[in-house]
Subunit: 347 residues, 2 copies
Amino acid sequence: MNLKQLASELGLSPTTVSRALNGYPEVSEATRLRVTEAARHYNYRPNTQAKRLATGRAMAIGHIIPLSTRHEIVNPVFADFIAGAGEVYARAGYDMVLTIVPDSDEERAYREVHSKGNVDGIIVHGPKVHDARLPLLEELGLPFVVHGRSLGADPGYSWVDVNNTRAFERATSFLLDLGHRRIALVNGIETMDFAARRRHGFERALAARGLAADPALMVAGEMTEVQGHDAARGMLDLPDPPTAFLTASFLSAMGVRRALWERDMRMGRDVSIVTHDDELGYLRNGTDEPIFTATRSSVREAGRRCAAMLLRRIETGTSAPETDLMEATLVVGASTGPAPRRPDLID
Amino acid sequence: MNLKQLASELGLSPTTVSRALNGYPEVSEATRLRVTEAARHYNYRPNTQAKRLATGRAMAIGHIIPLSTRHEIVNPVFADFIAGAGEVYARAGYDMVLTIVPDSDEERAYREVHSKGNVDGIIVHGPKVHDARLPLLEELGLPFVVHGRSLGADPGYSWVDVNNTRAFERATSFLLDLGHRRIALVNGIETMDFAARRRHGFERALAARGLAADPALMVAGEMTEVQGHDAARGMLDLPDPPTAFLTASFLSAMGVRRALWERDMRMGRDVSIVTHDDELGYLRNGTDEPIFTATRSSVREAGRRCAAMLLRRIETGTSAPETDLMEATLVVGASTGPAPRRPDLID
DNA sequence: CCGGACATTCAAAGCGGTTTGGATGCCAAC
DNA sequence: GTTGGCATCCAAACCGCTTTGAATGTCCGG
């Protein structure tokens, strides 16, 4: 059943039927009622493609995902972000279009999605320091919102981000307050903006107490269980091992925990762990009391906010950049405690 | 730049330009060359919506994801599946459209996506035993492929699935061969088809040796780290505790491992663990030697196969169902060993 | 009683492609 | 010298919707 058929069924013109269904005022309430009634009865739904062509709006938001074997989509954070954004799109009647591209084709993908006109806007995932995509999108004139920020990029773009610097600064201070002085950082890959900021916050907190970060206690890489484990194992073998770990992901924290178990050290007593917790659906940091002390910020909520911001920008046509900095909360769990006194300092 | 403009730029009709670009034979090689050259030069790309409307093909595949707080998209498996499917779509020029719907609206979402005509086909995720979506889609006449199967459903549908029954049967036999008799099953929610089959395989292997499954050694639920941990902790307290665990997910296996550590039991010596391993990008089962003995099957590959099958069906218009049963491989890691002799039986 | 304002409806022109059904010109064959 | 076939190209219809511009009918004020 299409518009024309429905119209002739009703003895009306397509014009009137279209207007009745789209809430235009120049149609009498009586006919509007007849029309909506008939539409329901025949289960009529306007053809998406035709509507899009006629209105020039794709009613769709694009997410372009580079097909690294390593990052992005296989990143556990991605699914939760998408879930959050998808909720918002669904409510607003937008589609979510994912495009998976080989890393080398990323720029082409952005250009193409634009010139083919099948999305009204784009969410940029996983911004790097000095990310080349932002100027590209700016040049294309396609509305976009970044999940995260990009150090060193022209700041005229819109973003939603967690205050990573502050979060890791607070986490570090928290450990310093507990008396820890040898604190290790198990970070994400530091070309990623969020990881660069976290390191920065870590170093800033140390500097505030007149301490310098020890390169031997900092690693950056894929945030996996194995990463945490291997990093911790190496560091615990150092002559002056860390008494606390700050990790960028729940998985890394679990890896550190494994390393502790392997050498019969107790988490929270012998060694403390603080992790960042993205509140992923299937990686919950405990139920009541958190397993790990953590800087917590919901990635799903970030997805919602990114989507809402982008839709707002598209619909109002605003070009002035808009930003949303989410503060992480520091929740205290069982993985932290006062720094153990150094054995060689005991009496 | 649209078709008409490009055509007039070339002094040709839109017809000819369209044909030249789409590879129709009734255009001379010389003009085809001129056209493609000009298209590149002006960076022309046919408008997606117009093309879709004219051809009646959406060039898009839908994935409808119920917004349970619990399942589906927050399921770690989802991202990898999507990555695999997305690769295939991208190569074939299809878009991937995700729709997130509140669980209650799922049926309406399927109907709507069909009548609005914005996808050419659908992938069904997470089929349950007796899944109501399959007859619905059959009725709608929308091409679809199921990732998994549905026990009790009319078998006239196409699917790609892992041989879950066989995988768990083999895993169980493997443990039985090592002398284990008290084997625990930490399963997914058993209304899900895959979980029902796994349990079935488990029980079949036991039955083949004249053993019955002990209900006290079977749990089913969200496949999280906490699930594995809590299940194992409870079971290890039993008077006749299990000597081996079979878990449905890598995360659950890590939880079981935690429970072992907590009571100073060594994995592979005191208690064995076999898990199913979906080969997720960020949850690798070790690098060289697997951490856990596992039944292994790549979910990403399943995504590729589902997508390829669906596209093939759409493009050829076949309606005869097609199926693809992937066998999991059993890889042996450090988490399994011979069953310990019962202390009370030692000499 | 007439003209203008207003409410309601419609015909037709897009949107930007694809596709049908010719046109045109050229050449080989009868 | 027709005729038929073939290679090329084009005008126009169409996909299903929105939207512009105009028509029609009604009502009210002057």
